[in-house]
């Protein structure tokens, strides 16, 4: 901990669509230390994936970062040439995806896909890459790695494939791992194993992990810090204890209340009414006010400022100013 790995300052990511320029990420800032896990939480379509794709520079062709900057180890990477960015991807910043079933090429062997980043970035020969690939498979806990190298993705189970994905992503010892809902497609026991694995490797390699999820259980298990996003904006950010024990934003509270609690039989699930506004919807004031039961006139007319709850805990909600909580 300590050294800043990634700093994202006020980025705005916009999409060119038939309805004009639509911002999917609105003025989001956050930072990530080495050896730290930041969870980005929010419901589908709130901009968490786009935020991560903005960092790694893989936005769809109609998307663009129109404002703000992304700093990796202090130097800007959002404006690098495609060729320079390509050298960073896989080498310094890696990504694992939601669906291990589709994130491996079905017609190529595990070995082939594992060798690719090694031969690409470290310029290893095929033999050396194979040797290192076997080591990597061992590292992610895959039995019989020599045999696996010659197998095709369909011969492995979902959990195994996700392990392979992790091995591929970590092959060049990246400083930052972006995990886009890495456990959503896996069943619960495998989920826990994969999360443990990511946690182990994180501390072993001292890398930063940016985990995107909508599963509060996952957040509780792995996160050091949590950032809650809603409709393209950051609404709350804080240490994991602060977010779970002392959530400030009504949206965060809503998210936490919509997770079943098995320990408390009297606990009642409380869904957040309504649904996420579309990107093209013009909303004045707080973007959450239409679904917020505490919304005041001020919320409807003025965009909330950011309030500092503690050194690490920030929330953008007018309620904080009035001290309702």
């Amino acid at each position: 901990m300590g050294e800043t790995l990634l700093e994202v300052k006020n980025i705005v990511t916009e999409f060119r669509t038939a309805d004009g320029q639509l911002p999917a990420v609105r003025d989001v800032s956050f930072s990530l230390q080495k050896g730290e896990t930041l969870c980005i939480v929010g419901e589908s379509g709130c901009g968490k994936s786009i935020t991560s794709l903005s960092v790694i520079g893989l936005l769809p062709s109609n998307g663009k970062i129109t404002n703000g900057e992304v700093l990796y180890e202090g130097s800007p990477i959002h404006n690098l040439s495609p060729e320079k960015m390509r050298q960073i991807r896989g080498n310094k910043i890696s990504m694992i995806f939601q669906e291990p079933m589709t994130a491996l090429n079905p017609v190529l062997t595990i070995g082939f896909q594992l060798r690719e980043p090694l031969m690409l970035h470290h310029k290893l020969s095929k033999g050396e890459a194979t040797k290192q690939g076997i080591e990597l498979l061992k590292q992610v806990g895959i039995p019989y790695p020599e045999k696996r190298m010659n197998q095709y993705p369909h011969e492995l189970s979902g959990g195994m494939r996700q392990r392979v994905m992790i091995a591929i992503a970590l092959s060049c010892n990246p400083g930052l791992l972006i995990a886009d809902e890495p456990t959503t497609a896996l069943d619960v026991t495998i989920q826990a194993q994969i999360l443990d694995l990511i946690n182990d490797l994180k501390s072993k390699l001292n890398m930063g992990v940016m985990m995107i999820t909508h599963d509060m259980g996952v957040v509780a298990e792995v996160a050091d810090r949590v950032m809650v996003m809603y409709a393209g904006k950051k609404v709350e950010e804080g240490d994991v204890e602060e977010i779970f024990n002392n959530p400030k934003h009504p949206y965060t509270i809503g998210l936490l209340n919509s997770v079943p609690n098995v320990d408390d039989p009297d606990f009642e699930l409380e869904p957040i009414p309504g649904s996420l506004p579309s990107l093209s919807e013009q909303i004045t004031g707080c973007r959450f006010h239409a679904r917020c039961k505490f919304a005041t006139d001020k919320c409807r007319s003025h965009e909330p400022a950011v309030f500092q709850v503690s050194d690490t805990h920030k929330v953008s909600c007018w309620l904080e100013e009035e001290g309702v909580h």
Partner: protein
Amino acid sequence: MAEAVPALGAKIKRAKKKESSFLVTTKRLLKNKLAVVGLVIIAIQIALAIFAPLLTFHDPVKQNLKISELPMFSDGHWLGTDNYGRDVWSRVVFGARISLIVGIIAVSLGLFGGIILGLLGGYYQKLDGVIMRIVDLLFSFPGILLAMLIIAILGTSLVNVAIAISIWSIPSCARIVRGSVLSIKEKEYIMAMKSLGASDLRIMVKHILPNATAPIIVFATMRMATAILSTASLSYLGLGAQPPTPEWGAMISQGQAFMWTSPHLTIIPGIAIMLTVFAFNVVGDGLRDAIDPNMDIQ
């Protein structure tokens, strides 16, 4: 999830998984009787082409006017001789060589061009419009006319026939490849490769192309039939093989003057062309069915 499959199901699954896709495809292909007939014909043709000098006793181009127009089953010439006394069997066998070689060259060149254009068009949206309009332009010519035009420019020879036919194969191949690339490039594993920093070229050649091989193989097989037929047509028209080259189309062209006195001079090369084209077509059809994953239900 694969782990959740009950024990029995898992066993079945495992038993099935052991076979490589190549083996599965071959097995399915061999179930198709017509395709097997086609494979046998192709195998015979390849054998004829390779061992032509061993299977014939006469020089295919050597004339001997003393024994011209011998009928079939004559002594020493079981398929007879043509008007110059050349052994028809030798000419048909050496003709197999020419047809196959020209076909292979034409199809490979066509694939080469078509795959490049298809990959570029499918992968880069910006190039797509331009490339596909060029392809449309090539499509707008009737095939044989385009080939004749190209030969008129390049001159008559078998090599030029191969080039002409390959150029004519490019547009269909490009379309097939482009279609596959368009769907494959949106797959998550391509995104994953991008996130590992692979270059566009690497992604196209090493990651997208292997996924598109099935339609390309089927296309190439079917195209062989067309290429062989076109070579024969062009040679028949006098634009391809020049006498005394033992080319099937040219043989028909020369033989047609003797249609009434020696019909075997046209019928035998005609049958050779027909069988070859038939064989490649049924094998192509069989391959398409065998590679199609939806056939798994059977």
